[in-house]
Amino acid sequence: MYVAVKGGERAIENAHALLADVRRGDRAVPELSLAQIDNQLALGVDRVMCEGSLYDRELAALAIKQARGDMIEAIFLLRAYRTTLPRFGASEPVETADMNIRRRISATFKDLPGGQVLGPTFDYTHRLLDHALAQASEVPPAATASASEATFRSVTDLLADSSLIEAEDAQDGEVGDLTREPLSFPAGRDLRLQNLARGDEGFLLALGYSTQRGFGRNHPFAGEIRYGEVEVEFFAEDVGFAVPLGMVSLTECQMVNQFAGSGTQAPHFTRGYGLAFGQSERKTMAMALVDRALRARELGEETGAPAQDEEFVLSHSDNVQATGFVEHLKLPHYVDFQAELGLLRQLRAEFAERAADNQISDTPLQDAAE
C-alpha cells in the first residue's frame, strides 16, 4: 500500500544544497570541465553513453560530473534526458566494414588483410601504478608510421569465403524496439541485441564469464575486435536522400564459436555479436558471449544455464531498472512496516499464549523425565 507522506521539504532542500557543496568539494581545487572529463575520462564517458543508450559525449560528461562519478546515476540521468526529446527516426544501419580503424585485432588469424593493429590499449601494459601520472607531465606525441591502403576485411567475411561460418540473414524487416514496446518472450535476436547493447557491463561480464566456466559453454574465439569511427546516415524525408550526420566511435566484437550443422547443412562455425558506443571492448566481448549463449535453443544445444535463460538475462540486464527497484527499498515504507509490525505482534502474542498452555501441561512430564 502506498500512502503519501508529507513533510521534510526543508530537509530535502538542504540535503540537495549539501550535495551540491560536496560535489564541488574543496574550493581550492580547480573545478572539472566537461572537456576534461570527455578527454581524460573518455572510457567512462563511453560507458555512460552505452548504457545510457544515448550517443552524446558532452551530455555523458555532464552526467558524470553531476553524478559525482557514480556511473549508474549518470546513466540514469542520460536515460531521463532522452525522454525529453522527440525522435526524428532511425538511421541507416551503420557499416562497420567501412570503419576508420583505430584498433583491430584477431585471436584466430595471425596474418589477415590489414594486419593486427593494437591502437590505444591497456593490453600488454604491466598494470603497475604509474606514479609519474600523479603530477602534471609532458606526454610526447605518439609514433607514426606509413599506413598502407589495405582495407580491414572482417574475419567472419574471410571465413564465409569457404562457407566455414554461418551466414547472417540480411533481410531488412521490421526492427523491434524495446523503448517503444515492452519486451515479451521469446524475443527476436534484434531485441536481444538492443537489450544487451544497453545492458550493464558488469552483469554481462559475469554472465559471459559463467559460460566460459562451464555454465552453458560455447567454445568462443575472439574472431575479431575492431574499434574506430563510422559514418551515420539518416534518410530525411524533407531532404529527399540519406544525409550523412557525422561520425560515431564504435567497438564491434565478432565471436567465433563451435560448430553447428545438420543432415542438410555441413558443419560450420557459429557466431556471437557485440556492438557498443565508444571504445568498449570488455562490454562487446561479454555481449557477444551472452548473445551466443542466448542462441542455444535456436542452435539445438542443451539449455538450462543462467546465460542461456532469455527471460532471466533480458529482465535483469538493465541497471537503471535494477537500481530503481533495489533502491526504492530506502524510500519510506512506514505504513507497510506498521502493518507487518502489527502482524508480528499478533503472531508473538499467539505464540506466547500457546507456550503458556504447553507449559502447564508440559510441567509434570518434564518432572517425570528428570
Partner: protein, 164 residues
C-alpha cells in the same frame, strides 16, 4: 537515390546535384560551427535567408546489423539537430548534424542552400568546403599513421632443432 525539390531539372542532373550535396554534408557534419561560419563570412556577410521552421534537437535511433552484416537492430540513440533555411530566391537548404549545436545545424543548412545557388556554389566550395576537406584529410592521415605505428610485425623464430 530518391530526389525531391528538383522538378525544374532533368533527373540525371538532379541526381548528380544530390551526390554533390551529400558529399558536402559529409564534410560539414564533421566540422565545427566556428570553422564553417569563418568560411561563410568570406562567402559574403550579406546573404539573406529565413528559417521556415525553427532549429530543433531530437534523437535518431542508431542502427547496427546483426553480426555486422545481417538484419538491422537498434543499438541506441544519438542526439541530432536539424535546421532549414530559405534564401530570398526560394532555394531551401537543410542541415542535419549529430549533437545539439544549433549554430552548426543552421550554418550547414545555409551552406546546403548556397551550394544549390549558381551565384554562390563556387565561393562556398572555395571558402568553406575546400579548407574543411583539407583539414579533415590531414587529421585522418595523421590518425591513420598513428594507428599504423601500432601494427604488429610478426617474425618467425628459427628453432635450433630445425637447423640440421
Amino acid at each position: 537515390m530518391a530526389v525531391a525539390n528538383n522538378k525544374n531539372v532533368d533527373g540525371e542532373t538532379a541526381e548528380a546535384a544530390c551526390v554533390e550535396r551529400r558529399a558536402a554534408m559529409a564534410v560539414l557534419a564533421q566540422a565545427e560551427a566556428d570553422d564553417i561560419e569563418r568560411g561563410l563570412r568570406l562567402v559574403g556577410d550579406g546573404v539573406e535567408f529565413t528559417e521556415p521552421r525553427p532549429v530543433e534537437t531530437g534523437l535518431i535511433m542508431l542502427r547496427g546489423r546483426i553480426g555486422g552484416d545481417g538484419a538491422p537492430f537498434n543499438a541506441g540513440e544519438a542526439t541530432v539537430t536539424r535546421a532549414a533555411v530559405q534564401l530570398a530566391s526560394g532555394i531551401i537548404g537543410f542541415g542535419y548534424v549529430l549533437g545539439r549545436d544549433h549554430r552548426k545545424a543552421r550554418a550547414v543548412a545555409l551552406c546546403d542552400a548556397l551550394l544549390q545557388a549558381d551565384d554562390y556554389r563556387l565561393s562556398v566550395e572555395q571558402h568553406v568546403l575546400a579548407p574543411l576537406r583539407l583539414a579533415q584529410q590531414q587529421r585522418r592521415v595523421f590518425a591513420r599513421a598513428q594507428t599504423a605505428a601500432t601494427r604488429v610485425d610478426f617474425f618467425t623464430l628459427v628453432r635450433g632443432e630445425d637447423e640440421r
